[in-house]
Subunit: 295 residues, 2 copies
């Protein structure tokens, strides 16, 4: 099976395990559950679950454990998008080519569905898990809550909102991204890594280095696509960052500088995997996908 | 020491452990951390932490473990108030006599501070805990996430929002309250109960019965005070429920019917504690406080 096929299989897998895990709309309150499913099952690139499965593959972690981690992380990611799109935040009408949750439902339902998705992530991760000692399971919850909260993802969104209309230099932009998306992307490799008791601290820190590099590369490519792609391909408004006067890599480094940075980050992510053999090929493939994607 | 003094001591204790546990505003992003502290440290009756400490006292649970539980629950409670007060939800300007978070900060910061408080609750509960096996610690996270999410507290708020302007009968009103506030109040006794491995299922279910009764009693008294008290005493707008055309116990049962119901629930909560001796006196005292409170 090619790496592309394996990745596609994992993407199909996360759709299925998410659909099975989330409460269905025939359970009360149905509108709330419908909104949770609408946002969590709206597709997307599934980069985070892919990273979970690819890291787990590199470390031979049982796939049932990876399912749990992937579902929990994707629910945190989905809730953050729902809240970020709210009128009081980025005020976006379109996400992944379809109307945002507060447009389809209403603002109150969107807020509540996000809140419930966050609670669900921790509930899902705290259910008895075969093949993983409780001590390690607790560690997973600790890593995810830390990555999601006021030192991680939520901090990033707060820094982002505060930066609109102000100039950020490259370093400040990097700090913002390291929190807003970087923290959760690092959790995607760190959480499976904590399921492997044999893993050395050095190997774990190399996986973390890989995740930091591709997390930032993802943002640089996002900024490039915001300039060079179009609304239909992106599934969201092209040029939205520029229109919102948000600092971006092309605006700070110029387009060729941004593309050079993307290449440096790609090389850095591959170098971080030097310790690993072909078992990490899917991680290498994801790094390539991230810098070459067109949407 | 009188029961009143012990309760006051626990209320002082939760203020202190909350203040120590929450990130301070000198840590970036400072505005976010300031908003988290503003809402979590805004006082209030601290009914939930009191229940945690009183249950822990009845079962001789180490107070350091109770601190963790109390902080986590109070952060979930605080986040729910911040989100419930938002313009898209109940649109309240005043809470506990002071302006609501979105009035002091802004809507985006209010939403994010709520999100971060929820993540913090689970982070705080997943940190290594002396004297409690990891298996039981996982159980605490499971109970809290279940009580907070789309089968518990968030469900209650969704049902509440959907009920505005519609008629609810007594049973539907009870279902709403059982979720909106009941689920978290039950967690206040269930979480300490799961720290006691010797506790029988019968004893646990009696504690749960106590919590169900006082949780609902709290709401009945809330509805009574909304009619009979005044804005200054309440620290929030008197008559707000009537103005919003929300169904209440006095509106469904009449004022004397609501007061009879309050008394029945009080007796029910005391009967549930028959299995317990004087070690549960503080729980009995809290039940009395809840039905006699004037704000």
């Amino acid at each position: 099976m090619t790496k592309q096929q394996r990745l596609a299989d994992y993407c199909a897998r996360i759709e299925q395990v998410l659909a099975e895990a989330l409460p269905t709309h025939d359970i009360s309150p149905s509108r709330l559950h419908e909104a949770m499913r609408y946002s969590a099952l709206a597709g997307g690139k599934r980069v985070r679950p892919s990273l979970v499965y690819a890291t787990g593959e590199a470390l031979s972690i049982p796939v049932k454990i990876l399912d749990r981690i992937a579902v929990a992380i994707e629910c945190i990611h989905a809730y953050s998008l729902v809240h970020d799109d709210l009128p009081a935040m980025d005020d976006d009408d379109l996400r992944r080519g379809i109307p945002t949750a507060h447009k389809v439902f209403d603002e109150a339902t969107a807020i509540l569905s996000g809140d419930a998705l966050q609670a669900f992530a921790f509930e899902h991760l705290s259910e008895p898990m075969e093949g993983l000692p409780p001590q390690q399971q607790l560690r997973l919850i600790r890593v995810l809550s830390d990555a999601s909260g006021s030192h991680g993802m939520v901090a990033g969104q707060a820094i982002d909102l505060a930066s609109v209309g102000r100039g950020l230099d490259e370093q400040q932009l990097e700090v913002m991204h390291a929190h807003k998306t970087g923290a959760l992307i690092r959790a995607c490799v760190l959480m499976p890594s904590y399921c492997d008791e044999q893993l050395s601290d050095l190997q774990r820190s190399q996986l973390d280095r890989y995740a930091k590099a591709i997390g930032l590369a993802f943002q640089v490519q996002d900024d490039i696509l915001d300039v060079e792609s179009d609304t239909e391909t992106l599934g969201k408004q092209q040029g939205a960052d520029i229109a919102a006067n948000k600092p971006t890599y092309p605006s700070i480094l110029g387009m060729s500088g941004a593309k050079r940075k993307l290449d440096v980050l790609h090389q850095e992510s591959l170098a971080a995997l030097d310790e690993f053999g072909p078992e990490a090929d899917l991680l290498r493939h994801i790094a390539q996908f991230i810098v070459q994607r067109i949407k």
